[in-house]
Amino acid sequence: MNDTRSPLQTIVIYLGALLILVWSGGPFIWQFSTSFQLDKALTSGSPSLIPDPFTLEHYYNAFVEKELHRYVWNSLVVSLATTFLCLFVGSLAAFALSRLNVKGRFGILMVILSVSMFPQIALVGPLYLVATNLGLLDTYTALIITYLALGLPLVTWVLFGYFETLPREIDEAARMDGVSIPGLLWHIILPMSLPSLVTTGLLAFITAWNEFLFALAFTSNIDRQTIPVGIANFTNLYYVPWGDIAAASAVVTVPLIVLVLFFQRHIIEGLTQGGIKE
């Protein structure tokens, strides 16, 4: 279509692309720059994108005063456990739905999808009572069990979509060779689905890493609180420590951005499969 484009159209397209780039990257770049600037510079009334003088003070505050690493550790434990559980349970379900002639499988898939649309605030009260009765408040277990159910619908959908693209002849050949049903999943389907497993795993990880509501309700102690709760509570008595908040934001967001950029193609494909299936 390039040859039919007028100069004006070309300008509009590049201008639009630039706007999208600034929109998507601008705010975080400013936040990143803020994390290296002295409080004095931030409140001086003449903001500058280049930190001058450059300081690591806010990173020091975030880790030493606010013990950010403890939240990071909790988040890592909870998110990694959630990711593996989600992949395990999700691939079992997706495999059954895609390969084993389940009656009413589209009904089941629709139910699974609609579950992910339930307002989470309607779940948090009753689950809080259950967690209290079972002594699970302030534990990783409560968060992991909850996040498993939150991540499961998307993981199942995306994996189901991927399994559907694998040719059925493989199943038949394997079964002829006497491979059992779990053997088919474990030795044949899963190894062929690695790209999709990486994407869905990343989606489950991000869901757990970013979740706030349940973490806020179920934990009240830095021993178990995750990053979102930690950052939400980042306040000083007399003023808002914007620099420290920016430093913490950078620490928890940069690794995520790197991961996402690395796997971007798979993510977009995976999500369009799960979110909007025509």
Binding site: A93, A96, P126, I145, L152, A232, I245, L256, L271
Partner: protein, 305 residues
């Protein structure tokens, strides 16, 4: 599939296919049943009781909570805010997202970079987004005020989320920032399924750019647009993190939404009965929104056929 049970040569006893299927589905069912379905049913029951963690009461009280809810100005205040937030953010995100998708549909240098950058707002934790907008829109040292002031668009600093007049707008801006690029990527994949030959044919017949958009691309994109809009609306309706962290529902309840109100009733006043009534009312409203969307979608699809 159950023929597998009779495959010879393997010593282990085999289970027939359907048994395996249900066995493999069980963990997922147990997880969703206990963490999603049970709480909804239990919440419905709680909403018919006067359960409170302070007074330790938990007696059946019929529809008393709902009667109270009907006359509760705070509830309706939050209800309207939630509807306004849902409508405004969904419409803005869909329209701006469509604009972005149309640009990304064209070939230009650096397209990969732009597409990659668009995932940044989506991947960022909402709590971080909320704090980030707190700094960007800070009433005193925020960069947004600085830019607007120096561009001559305003003549004094705006106290964005500190004033009841502009707080909800600030939250909508933050949500639109975070979600629009992702919406655009979803719509882009929809746009790319529109066959190029159709557009080329229209161009041959002398149709201008916006005419091909209006008469070819948009109608073909409509189902994708509506489904994406539905998911976005249902998600926007549950907004919690953004509001809770940025304004906590204030100032003067001007940004209170159903989720933040429910959370406060549940965990600040510990009235689990009344709080459950609020969240059940929310569930019902969300169900109605979904139903309206789905009915409209089905009518569109039927008309297209």
């Amino acid at each position: 599939m159950s023929a597998a049970a009779t495959v010879p040569g393997i010593g282990r006893p085999r289970l027939p296919g359907p048994v395996w299927a249900w066995l493999l589905l069980t963990p997922a069912f147990v997880s969703l049943a206990s963490v999603s379905f049970y709480p909804i049913v239990n919440g419905l029951y709680l909403s018919l009781t006067n359960t409170s963690l302070i007074t330790q009461e938990n007696e059946f009280s019929g529809f008393a909570n709902y009667v109270q809810l009907w006359g509760d100005a705070q509830f309706w205040n939050a209800w309207w805010h939630t509807m306004w937030f849902t409508a405004a953010s969904t419409i803005l995100e869909t329209v701006i997202g469509l604009g972005m998708a149309l640009i990304l549909c064209e070939a230009f240098k650096g397209r990969g970079l732009v597409r990659a950058a668009m995932l940044v707002p989506w991947a960022m934790p909402t709590v971080v987004t909320s704090k980030m907008f707190g700094w960007l829109f800070d009433g005193q040292n925020g960069i947004i005020n600085y830019i607007l002031l120096h561009a001559g668009l305003i003549d004094q600093n705006i106290n964005w989320y500190g004033s009841p007049d502009t707080a909800m707008t600030t939250i909508i801006i933050a949500d639109v920032w975070k979600t629009t690029p992702f919406m655009a990527l979803l719509l882009l994949t929809g746009l790319q399924t529109v066959p190029n030959s159709l557009i080329e044919a229209a161009r041959m017949d002398g149709a201008k750019g916006w005419i091909t958009f209006w008469h070819i691309r948009l109608p073909l994109l409509m189902p994708t647009l509506l489904i994406a809009g539905l998911f976005r609306a249902l998600d926007a309706f549950r907004v919690f993190d953004l509001v809770y962290v940025l304004t906590g529902g204030g100032p003067a309840d001007s940004t209170e939404t159903l989720s933040t109100l429910s959370y406060k009733v549940l965990f600040s006043t510990l009235q689990f009965g009344y709080g459950s009534a609020v969240s059940t009312a929310m569930f019902v409203t969300e169900g109605i929104i979904a139903l309206v969307f789905v009915l409209y979608l089905m009518r569109q699809i039927r008309r297209a056929q």
